[in-house]
């Protein structure tokens, strides 16, 4: 007989002398104290096949409800401005908002238990990857919804996805290398503003950064370089034996 049997009433042949109160209490405490995973975490568990990774994902600061609502509010405001002014505000805002979210996805300045997390079986590189991809995906979805709602032209609606990839990669690389989310945010925002202003100077319009097809390849190459930096900065230290 064990504590679970006592809880469920399956102790027909057991006498009172068999009761181990400690064990019973642990069974009760286990049921009462532990958190039931929510629907998002359950879905993440099935998808990632790792309960640890799923829990790490749902604790991402930039995936918490408040953050997601704030992101949505900024993009809805951008959609409103786009409708009112005819300027592609969503296309210009979405990469910046996503970069902030990515920089705040994981790292020593964000994760209070980062030092401890580094000694865990679920590797910090995997946590970083899963969190960054999810934040990126969510921001892309919100941006697309806002862009569609703003009635922007198709070229602008999808044009910002590639620059967003580059800006997010820059923010992630800066945050990872410097181990500071704030530096990542600053680098991402500064990079995006400089790009917009440079294209405005060269072509005479703000939207050049998101509509010029000749920039797609440089954006992707830049993003690949930033990802390589992230991979290098989070590489597995070897040579201990």
């Amino acid at each position: 007989m064990n504590g679970d049997d006592l809880l469920t009433g399956r102790y027909d042949n057991a006498g009172p002398h068999d009761v181990d109160l400690n064990r019973v209490w642990l069974g009760v405490a286990a049921q009462v104290w532990c958190r039931r995973p929510g629907p998002v975490e359950r879905a993440a568990r099935r998808l990632l096949r790792s309960p640890g990774l799923a829990r790490a994902l749902v604790t991402t600061p930039s995936l918490l409800l408040g953050w997601v609502i704030a992101t949505a509010v900024v993009l809805i405001a951008g959609a409103g401005f786009t409708l009112g002014t005819g300027q592609p505000w969503v296309a210009l805002l979405a990469p910046a908002v996503a970069a902030v979210g990515i920089a705040y996805a994981y790292g020593p300045g964000i994760d209070p238990s980062w030092e401890l997390s580094q000694s865990m079986a679920v590797g910090d590189r995997m946590v970083l990857l899963v969190r960054a991809l999810t934040v990126f995906g969510l921001n892309a979805a919100l941006g697309l919804a806002a862009s569609a709602a703003s009635g922007a032209a198709a070229a602008v609606t999808f044009g910002w996805l590639v620059p967003m990839t580059a800006v997010c990669a820059l923010a992630l690389a800066a945050a990872t290398v410097t181990r500071s989310a704030n530096v990542g945010v600053a680098a991402g925002l500064a990079g995006w503003v400089i790009t917009i202003l440079a294209d405005q100077t060269a072509e005479g319009r703000y939207t050049a950064a998101v509509t010029d097809p000749s920039l797609v390849l440089p954006y992707l190459a830049f993003a690949a370089c930033c990802v390589a930096v992230v991979l290098f900065a989070t590489r597995t230290p070897r040579g201990t034996q």
Binding site: P112, M120, A121, R238
Partner: protein, 254 residues
């Protein structure tokens, strides 16, 4: 041997925090003593696979932590309490311990009972549903200990575990350490010699990145007898005598 360290070195710029340490540890409670800046935390962080060594060899639980697979296997069987325990203020005690149980890759079905057991072991049963932001420093330290022991580790590394604990909690904690020491290797970094005297079967004393003494607490105590070294307790006098001897040797060499 669960821990085999050979000529391990760790440099931060030009500073050698750990300078060629060699030691072995099997089951039991191993005390790592030394003054501030002796290199205890750096050595412990290397054993926790958080900090890569600059040079030397390290084997933990019979595996080389340099490879991905072995390192993951080590980490499943490892418990680590860092000197500065960061925590999520909005988590409850149970949430926090459960989070790290999951990150240690424990089978999900075992997690609730293991979490409850670890929280009870550190005497925080009545605080299990309380948010971490409301706990005192001593209680947070016990939460840190609970997450370290939740997976019944074969190698338990504790950096200043008794900092902030009251005398009653320290006595309870030492009992817990001795229990763990019967089935696991427990390495405790501390500068409180009374913790070592009460709980450790072996002790190493570090100074300036080097191990200057390795033996039993009784042997360390013997070093202080008749030496005239400073200290209120016999073990403290042994500690002071060994440190003084090591430093005079270094001074003579230079």
């Amino acid at each position: 041997m669960n821990v085999e360290v050979t000529d391990l070195t760790r440099k931060f710029g030009r500073t050698r925090a750990v300078a060629g340490v060699t030691l072995e540890a099997g089951p039991g409670v191993f005390g790592l003593l030394g003054p501030n800046g002796a290199g205890k935390t750096s050595l412990l962080r290397m054993m926790a696979t958080v900090l890569p060594p600059t040079s030397g060899a390290l084997r933990l639980l019979g595996r080389d932590p340099g490879g991905y697979g072995p390192r993951r296997e080590i980490r499943r069987r490892l418990g680590y309490l860092p000197q500065q325990l960061g925590y999520y203020p909005g988590f409850t005690v149970a949430d926090f311990v459960e989070y790290f149980a999951l990150l240690k890759d424990m089978p999900p079905r075992q997690v609730p009972r293991a979490v409850a057991g670890a929280i009870e072991d550190v005497g925080l049963g009545d605080k299990a549903r309380v948010k971490l932001r409301t706990l005192s420093g001593g209680m947070l330290r016990r939460v840190g200990i609970a997450q370290a022991i939740v997976n019944e580790p074969e190698l338990l590394l504790l950096d200043e575990p008794t900092a902030g604990l009251d005398p009653e909690q320290r006595v309870a904690f030492r009992t817990l350490l001795r229990e763990f020491g019967q089935r696991a290797t427990v390495i405790v970094s501390t500068h409180l010699v009374e913790d070592v005297a009460a709980a450790c079967t072996e002790v190493a004393l570090m100074d300036a990145g080097r191990i200057v003494f390795h033996g039993t607490p009784a042997e360390l105590t013997a070093r202080g007898e008749g030496s005239g070294a400073a200290g209120d307790a016999p073990l403290e006098r042994g500690y002071s005598a060994v440190l003084a001897a090591a430093r005079s040797t270094v001074a003579a060499r230079s």
